[in-house]
């Protein structure tokens, strides 16, 4: 167990300078969730354009893992078709569970692959996915 595996530079970078952090003026979908164990809180807002995620922003606060994951996840799906976003989320889930996954689809999100070695932190890394999933369900 090496800390450097968990707290990779890119994770700290996204934690300290998150992308897509803030609020949308006219979100089509909104959701929130929390990880009561450590107090992580996360809100997601999405604007759709047809079948695509035109824009997505998150807010909230929490540990480096939950916040960097939100930043990386929003980066990964912004501009994508909803179906593609779901596929990315699916691969991300596989990665956290320790199953095989398609690294190409994940891109920078792969920085979180070592979280699975820290069982207590997997929940932090999955929070953004769970909250995003709720928001996506609001799209008919």
């Amino acid at each position: 167990m090496s800390l450097e595996e968990l707290f990779k530079e890119i994770i700290i970078e996204h934690y300290q300078h998150p992308k897509n952090h803030g609020h949308l003026d006219h979100p089509d979908a909104k959701s929130e969730g929390s990880n009561p164990l450590c107090g992580d809180e996360l809100q997601m807002e999405i604007a759709f354009e047809g079948d695509r995620i035109k824009d997505v922003m998150f807010s909230g606060n929490g540990c480096s893992i939950s916040q960097s994951a939100a930043s990386l996840m929003t980066e990964a799906i912004k501009g994508k078709a909803v179906g593609d976003a779901r596929r990315i989320m699916e691969e991300y889930k596989h990665m956290l569970q320790g199953s095989t996954y398609n690294a190409d689809m994940l891109g920078d999100l792969e920085a979180l692959s070592d979280v699975k070695k820290f069982p207590a932190r997997v929940k932090c890394a999955s929070l953004s996915m769970a909250v995003l999933d709720q928001a996506l369900q609001q799209k008919k």
Partner: protein, 409 residues
């Protein structure tokens, strides 16, 4: 106190974690157990295990005696007037709920007020919150001052003849503040209110005296004071216990059952339905004897010294913010903090990689978190088996954590 000798009494303290010696600083969550407690449990199961109170054979007599001796040990430890006033529960939480389901259920009406402090653990808050909802009673919160002590002026002005119940953490599990419960009890009694003291954090660390405090109810948890899990205590003045309906019903708590009528057992057994956790009680007795042998005053003095040292050293960590009283004479054994730029959960993981166990999160005290404007804190909490060297290791690891996340503007 010969700490090195004491540490040898605790088998787990020689464990290695992640190739380093365990530094256990999560004592406010639960404490480690000395060999004497472990042996009290194995001694029971190897030699004289039998269900209590009902047997006419030797093992049952021995086991019943050991169980009732444990009650007497608790009575002595908290200086209650009588063993009638000592009821064994699972933990402090069950003890507090017992009051809510019996005395408070029978005595609170719509419009009555329940005064609790902002420092309460969920276990001394949620039961009253739910009760208040059921009854239409009103919860009033005693705020904390900036220095982490209760605002006693606010407390005084919240009390009135409408106050029926006052709930106070004797010692905060976040700030470590030791609240002036004796004075608060006297003030509440003047208004005719009953006072519940949550002693889960105080009983392990400072001398407790029911007859001096004069509280009406007092709850504690064995596992936070060297005892096994699954055993707690509810103290109530016998006048309260006498007036209360039983809580759980079943075996042990009745004298006679017919199809038309039920006669309840005498105190304290009226409140102990079913086979009690006599193992837990017997383990708790061994824990109490261990604490008494060291002496609660010695323990408190040592922990205060350690807390003073910790406060001093921890303040040297860049961007650290320490919650609660900065005056070590107002608190004991607990230091909650945050480091700017490093979330407490990350601190926890980084410390864990060094073998250091601390807690991160809301500490089951979300009202206090909200009051402090944070969603989480890190917390190091000490017991008498901790050392200055361990605090040095803690501080070193905190600096490392800060270093990993760099300085934020």
């Amino acid at each position: 106190m010969d700490i090195e000798k004491i540490r040898k009494d605790f088998p787990v303290l020689s464990r290695m974690v992640r190739d380093r010696p365990l530094v256990y600083l999560d004592n406010a969550a639960t404490t480690q157990k000395p060999a004497a407690v472990i042996e009290a449990i194995t001694g029971l199961y190897r030699n004289y295990n039998a269900n209590v109170h009902r047997g006419v054979y030797l093992l049952a007599e021995e086991c019943t005696q050991a169980y009732e001796d444990s009650r007497e040990a608790v009575r002595r430890f908290i200086n209650a007037g009588s063993t009638e006033e000592i009821v064994f529960t699972r933990n402090a939480t069950e003890a507090l709920n017992l009051i809510a389901y019996t005395w408070a259920e029978a005595n609170l009406r719509a419009g009555d007020e329940i005064v609790v402090t902002i420092m309460e653990h969920h276990s001394n808050y949620v039961p009253w919150f739910r009760l208040a909802r059921r009854k239409g009673a009103v919860i009033r919160i005693v705020p904390a001052r900036k220095d982490g002590e209760l605002d006693m002026d606010a407390y005084r002005s919240l009390l009135s003849s409408r106050t029926k119940l006052v709930g106070i953490a004797h010692m905060s599990n976040v700030f470590g503040t030791i609240n002036p419960v004796k004075e608060m009890i006297a003030l509440a009694h003047r208004q005719g209110a009953a006072v519940v003291v949550d002693g889960a954090q105080s009983a392990p660390h400072i001398r407790i005296d029911m007859q001096d405090l004069d509280c009406d109810f007092f709850a504690l948890s064995g596992h936070k004071m060297l005892g096994p899990t699954g055993i707690g205590v509810l103290y109530a003045k016998s006048s309260y216990f006498k007036s209360m309906e039983p809580f759980l019903s079943g075996g042990e708590m009745i004298l006679r059952v017919t199809l038309d009528d039920i006669v309840y057992n005498d105190l304290p057994w009226k409140f102990e339905a079913g086979t009690p956790n006599y193992e837990g009680a017997i383990g708790l007795k061994a824990a109490i004897e261990y604490l008494e042998a060291l002496g609660m005053d010695t323990i408190e003095a040592y922990e205060r010294e350690l807390t003073t040292y910790a406060l001093e050293k921890m303040r040297t960590v860049p961007d650290i913010f320490v919650y609660g009283p900065s005056d070590p004479s107002k608190k004991c054994g607990i230091v909650a903090f945050n480091i700017r730029g490093v979330h407490s959960h990350d601190i926890g993981t980084i410390l864990d990689s060094e073998g250091i166990a601390i807690r991160a999160g809301h500490h089951c005290a979300q009202p206090l978190m909200i009051d402090c404007g944070v969603s989480a804190m890190a917390r190091a909490s000490f017991y008498f088996y901790n050392t200055r060297q361990e605090i040095d290791m803690l501080v070193k690891a905190l600096n490392k954590a800060k270093g990993m996340f760099g300085h934020v503007a």
